[in-house]
């Protein structure tokens, strides 16, 4: 197990390196310097600025400087928010995004698995059809459509919850964004759970379990559930990426000061260092999650562990 973990850890290093390298050189490919668009600067000031942003050196040195900075968690200075470093900006937004994302994942898992099992164990009944068509709606309606609809219904028409804003993180302001993030995840996980549950319930070892004389509830909880959840576990990696991506839109719509909102603003403002920093940061996060998911999977499935 520890050998497997170590190997997976080593494998994720090149991935991270590719992400960093790709974003670094993509950014440097950008036409024009970071200070274009502002009025023409005197040459000496521009030279000073370039020196301040470490851009007067050869490209490869800049690259290694950036790598060295990343090793100690330094993403460099922001181009637009001149008083902040990218690291500061990321750390100011990340806890908020992280909290929303985790809640959304948790809700997605609990309800997705619940609905999926319910539908699978009552295959081809009205309950199954209801769950599955709702899930299909959750997949077909993108969250940037779902979020305004939720706001319109619960915020504007019913007035139960605030229609937007952050209000320093009051729980009322978190409900709708979390819901908007969680709904597609519930839908995906429910569909996946149903499919794998149906498959597992037809497996021969389930027949063996029944032949032992244990109750149907135990057959499901002790024997079927774990196997049926394996595909869901491996979906958690991509799901994390999905929630992170989703939060970019959701934070934009609800005006939440998370990392996703910074990212979109930075992208629109051409704040290269911030965009790059966020991409690298998110890249690292997704790689980390994939790693965690693989380890959980290996822990659950002994056949992988000993490979």
């Amino acid at each position: 197990m520890s050998g497997y973990a170590l190997r997976r850890l080593l494998q994720s290093i090149p991935t991270l390196l590719v992400v960093i390298t790709l974003s670094f050189f993509l950014m440097r490919l950008a036409p024009g310097g970071p200070f274009d668009g502002e009025r023409k600067l005197p040459p000496e000031i521009e030279a000073n600025l370039l020196a301040a942003y470490n851009m007067d050196q050869p490209l490869y040195l800049q690259y290694f400087d950036y790598l060295a900075g990343l090793l100690v968690g330094d993403f460099g200075p922001s181009f637009k928010y001149k008083d902040f470093s990218v690291t500061e900006l990321i750390w100011s937004g990340f806890p908020i995004s992280f909290e929303l994302g985790m809640w959304a994942m948790l809700i997605g898992l609990v309800f997705g698995i619940g609905f999926g099992c319910y539908a699978a164990l009552r295959q081809n009944t009205p309950g199954d059809y209801l769950v599955m068509s709702t899930a299909m709606a959750g997949i077909a309606i993108p969250n940037f459509v779902m979020a305004p609809i939720l706001t319109l219904v619960f915020g504007v028409m019913l007035g139960w919850l605030p229609a937007g804003g952050w209000n320093d993180g009051a729980w009322q302001n978190k409900v709708l964004p979390i819901l908007a993030l969680a709904l597609p995840q519930i839908a995906y996980i429910a569909r996946m759970t149903r499919g794998s549950m149906i498959e597992v319930m037809g497996a021969q070892f389930i027949r063996t379990a029944r032949a032992k004389g244990i109750s149907e509830r135990k057959v499901v909880t002790r024997h079927a559930l774990k196997s049926a959840l394996l595909p869901v576990i491996s979906y958690l990696g991509p799901a994390t990426a999905g929630v992170i991506t989703g939060s970019v839109v959701i934070e934009q719509i609800f005006g939440i000061p998370g990392i996703g909102r910074y990212f979109v603003q930075a992208a629109l403002n051409r704040d290269y260092t911030l965009v790059m920093g966020t991409v690298v940061f998110y890249g690292g996060l997704i790689i980390l999650f994939n790693l965690l998911v693989d380890l959980i999977y290996a822990w659950l499935d002994p056949q992988i562990r000993y490979e």
């Binding site: 190997r7 080593l10 494998q11 037809g202 497996a203 021969q204 070892f205 027949r207 063996t208 379990a209 029944r210 032949a211 032992k212 004389g213 244990i214 109750s215 149907e216 002790r222 024997h223 774990k226 196997s227 659950l300 499935d301 002994p302 056949q303 000993y306």
Partner: protein
């Protein structure tokens, strides 16, 4: 007809099945899987339910424990265990019987065990459920059971997962699980079919031994008449959901009453092949053939070691000869066959028709390909599902006789289909519309259309029912006689090899154990392993012959 004949004839049967009817209601219509089955099972006896695939024997077995999946309908009849009606009984009542009074083992020991749980835990679960004991007590009992079913190193195995065990060991675990509560009845649904012959014999001996120890009745479901003959007291022969014959094993085997039983007994392969003359021309001559498979590991799949699948084997095949290669799974027999035809890379001198073929480029190999053809085991996998059988058969002609007109090609296809007894009119159909036996004939037609000299037959009959098998064997014999074909016949089924081959090579772990004329190997095996194989295969031998003569 409910025959009350029993070897031991105690007063009351423990299991009575009376006029059982089982339907499956599918959206395409209702399938009557079982139509009026009646039999009784007495304490301590072994009753075999015999039939070919689709006869309803497995369904009957699963119906006893009410394990059949929806949409099953028990339209008529009853299943009584000690006067208790099981059909439609409350789930709680059935659960008290399942695993406790009536236990079951299945064909596929790998997929029948939960892959994510320790095997010790899986066996303990039955005890905890039915005996009301705690985990520690159960663990101690499981250890005893593992010793009883002769699992090596039982203490360590408690914490093993199914994939860490061999096929035979997994079946032993299943048996331990079934015997945990010392049931009255053990239902064994093809328990040895997925296992190698020597393992098969060990498992059967174990079951027999445990039956004597615990005095349980065994309901044995199988298609293998040899096993029935050796182990069953009584036998029920099933066909298409009905019971066609029922009686004491010895009586049924020596004086079968129903024509279908006679057919089944006759379909045990019989006959033998005379050796060819020593001056027949040599078709294939191979010296020191070796095949290595690289073992890869690590991040980029570096080759860390070699696995020697075929270890320095030499053989000579003369025209008209049939060489049988026997061995258990993993012995390298198929690999050897493919290496001889250069379907995979090996080392060694191989001469085909006097031409050295090892080291030939694929292009140079092509003209020789038509003279050496292959028929594979899997009648489902060996025909491309997206081509009509006409296209499949014509493909070789397109490669080797590109000058033929479409009409000539079509005529050749029709002729060869007729030869293998498939209606030429069906040549525009797709493989999935044919039965297993028909597909195997089509595969033979694909090879025969090129008029080869040599055919590699890689387990061509293993996936087929005996009665279908016998017709394929007859076809192969007829083709050999007619065209003077040379066969290399690979099989794990010793009965078929004995009937078809004049020369036998026994393989194990990539090496030749022994080889020689068929009768010599079967009658006077020199090596311990060969003897083991032959005893394990428990062919009907004399019983079949007697049935044959008296029928």
């Amino acid at each position: 007809m409910t025959a009350h004949i029993s070897a031991k004839a105690p007063a009351l049967p423990i299991l009575t099945i009376d006029d059982l009817h089982i339907d499956f209601v599918l959206h395409t219509g209702t399938v009557q899987a079982v139509r009026g089955i009646s039999f009784e099972l007495y304490k301590g006896e072994t009753l075999a339910l015999v039939g070919e695939s689709g006869s309803g024997k497995s369904i009957t077995a699963q119906a006893i424990l009410q394990l059949l999946p929806e949409p099953v309908r028990y339209t008529k009849g009853s299943i009584e265990y000690q006067q208790q009606q099981l059909i439609g009984a409350p789930t709680a009542a059935i659960r008290k019987v399942r695993g406790n009074r009536i236990a079951m083992i299945f064909q596929e020991p790998m997929s029948s065990l939960n892959p994510l749980q320790h095997i010790g835990h899986q066996v303990a679960e039955v005890l905890i459920e039915h005996k009301g004991i705690n985990r520690q007590q159960a663990a101690a009992r499981v250890l005893e059971l593992f010793q009883l079913v002769e699992i090596p190193d039982p203490q360590r195995r408690l914490k093993s997962y199914p994939h860490e065990l061999s096929g035979g060991q997994r079946q032993r675990v299943m048996i331990a699980m079934a015997l945990a509560c010392e049931p009255d009845i053990l239902i064994a649904d093809e328990p040895t079919t997925a296992l190698d012959v020597t393992i098969q014999a060990q498992i059967m001996a174990l079951l027999k031994n445990l039956q004597q120890k615990f005095g349980m009745a065994i309901l044995f479901i199988t298609h293998d008449l040899g096993v029935v003959h050796q182990f069953a007291d009584r036998v029920c022969v099933m066909r298409k959901g009905q019971l066609v014959e029922h009686g004491i094993t010895k009586a049924v085997f020596s004086r079968p009453q129903h024509p279908y039983t006679c057919e089944l007994l006759d379909s045990e392969p019989s006959g033998s092949k005379p050796a060819v003359s020593q001056d027949a021309p040599v078709v294939l001559d191979a010296k020191n053939v070796q095949v290595n498979f690289p073992i890869r590991a690590g991040f980029l799949g570096r080759v860390v070691d070699q696995f020697r699948a075929v270890d320095t084997i030499s053989l000579t095949l003369r025209q008209g000869q049939t060489m049988g290669i026997v061995g258990e799974s993993g012995s390298g027999k198929s690999t050897l066959g493919k290496a001889l035809l250069k379907l995979l890379d090996g080392h060694g001198d191989i001469h085909f028709d006097g031409i050295q073929i090892d080291g030939l480029e694929p292009l140079a190999m092509r003209p020789l390909r038509r003279k050496m053809q292959v028929v594979f085991q899997d009648p489902f996998g060996s025909l491309s599902p997206r081509m009509t059988i006409g296209e499949i058969i014509a493909e070789g002609l397109k490669v080797h006789e590109p000058l033929l007109s479409p009409r000539q090609r079509d005529e050749a296809v029709c002729a060869v289909l007729e030869e293998v007894a498939i209606a030429p009119s069906s040549r525009n159909r797709y493989p999935h519309e044919f039965s297993g036996g028909q597909r195997q004939r089509i595969a033979i037609a694909r090879a025969m259309v090129l008029k080869p000299r040599f055919m590699l037959l890689d387990e061509p009959t293993s996936a087929l029912d005996r009665s279908v098998q016998i017709r394929v064997i007859e076809l192969l014999r007829r083709l050999q006689d007619k065209y003077g074909l040379t066969y290399l016949f690979i099989s794990h089924d010793l009965a078929v090899v004995r009937a078809l081959a004049d020369h036998v090579m026994v393989m194990r772990s990539g090496k030749v154990v022994e080889q020689g004329p068929t009768e010599q190997i079967f009658s006077y095996p020199q090596q311990e392993y060969t003897r083991e194989l032959i005893t394990a295969a428990c062919p009907l031998g004399n019983a079949a012959q007697r049935a044959h003569s008296s029928a």
